[in-house]
C-alpha cells in the first residue's frame, strides 16, 4: 500500500526537478550576452513619466552588436532614437563614434558641436535636418566598450534643451555601466 505513494512521490520530485531545470534553462537563455534590449533607458525617467512611447527594440542595428530603441513623444513632433553599440573593446567604441560623427553631415545641417558631460568624450551636435524642417541634436559618447548615439529630432523652432540631453545621457551612461559590468 505504501509503494504507490512512494512512486507518486518519486514522480512528483522528478517532475519538479525537470521543471526547475526548464526554468533555470530559460532564465539562462534570457540572459544571453548579446541581448542588449534592456540597456536603453526610457526618456520618461526625466519627463512627466508618460510623454514617450517606445517602439520595439531593434537588436544589432545595421549588423552591429547592440540595440536601437525609438521613443516617440505623444504629440508626435518629437522623437528620440537611442542606439547603443557593444563592441569588443574601448578602442573599437571610439572608432565607431568617429565613424558616426563623420557621417553626421547627412543627418544634421549647420551642426554646432559642444562638449557634454556624458561618459567619455561626450559631445552634442546641434543643427537642423537636411531639409531644414526639423531641429536635430545628436549626443555621442563612449562608456568602456560601448558606443552611445542618441538623436533628438523635434520641431524646428524647439530644439531639445542641452540640459535634457545631458540629463538623459548621464542616465543612459549609468545604465550601460550597470549592464555591462554585471
Amino acid at each position: 500500500m505504501n509503494r504507490p505513494l512512494i512512486a507518486i512521490g518519486g514522480m512528483t520530485a522528478a517532475a519538479l526537478l525537470m521543471a526547475g531545470m526548464t526554468i533555470g534553462g530559460s532564465s539562462r537563455a534570457a540572459a544571453q550576452p548579446d541581448d542588449y534590449s534592456a540597456i536603453p533607458v526610457s526618456p520618461n525617467v526625466i519627463t512627466d513619466s508618460t510623454a514617450y512611447t517606445a517602439a520595439a527594440p531593434m537588436i544589432n542595428p545595421n549588423g552591429q552588436p547592440g540595440v536601437t530603441t525609438v521613443y516617440t513623444h505623444r504629440d508626435d513632433t518629437r522623437q528620440i532614437t537611442n542606439t547603443i553599440l557593444v563592441l569588443p573593446d574601448p578602442q573599437a567604441a571610439t572608432n565607431a563614434i568617429s565613424e558616426i560623427r563623420s557621417g553626421l553631415g547627412d543627418r544634421v545641417s549647420n551642426g554646432r558641436t559642444q562638449p557634454a558631460a556624458v561618459g567619455t568624450g561626450g559631445t552634442v551636435v546641434t543643427g537642423t535636418s537636411p531639409d531644414g524642417t526639423k531641429s536635430v541634436s545628436v549626443l555621442l559618447f563612449t562608456e568602456g566598450n560601448a558606443a552611445g548615439s542618441i538623436e533628438f529630432e523635434g520641431p524646428k523652432n524647439d530644439s531639445v534643451p542641452l540640459d535634457l540631453v545631458v540629463d538623459y545621457g548621464q542616465k543612459q551612461d549609468t545604465a550601460i555601466k550597470d549592464s555591462l559590468t554585471t
Binding site: T47, A51, R74, D158, L164
Partner: protein, 78 residues
C-alpha cells in the same frame, strides 16, 4: 515766625508746580472731534505676466508657461 516759614514753604511748592506745568505752543494740536482720519490706501500689487499675456498657469510664473514639450507637461521658458 512759624507762620512765615509756612508761607515760604507754601510759596515754594506753588511756584514749583507752576514751573513744571506744560505750556501751550503754536504747534500744539487741540482735540477736535470733527477731524477725519484717513487710512493709508492699499499699495498696488505688481503681477508679472507670462509670455502668453496671462499670469502663469500651473504656477509657472512670469517668463515661463505651461505646455507639453521635451520633458512632457512642464513649465518652459518663453
Amino acid at each position: 515766625m512759624r507762620k512765615i516759614a509756612m508761607a515760604v514753604v507754601a510759596g515754594a511748592i506753588l511756584s514749583g508746580s507752576l514751573a513744571t506745568a506744560q505750556t501751550a505752543t503754536a504747534a500744539q494740536v487741540t482735540h477736535d472731534p470733527n477731524v477725519t482720519v484717513y487710512t493709508q490706501a492699499p499699495r498696488p500689487t505688481v503681477q508679472g505676466l507670462d509670455c502668453a499675456g496671462g499670469t502663469g498657469a500651473m504656477g509657472c510664473g512670469p517668463g515661463w508657461f505651461w505646455r507639453d514639450g521635451w520633458r512632457g507637461f512642464a513649465c518652459y521658458p518663453c
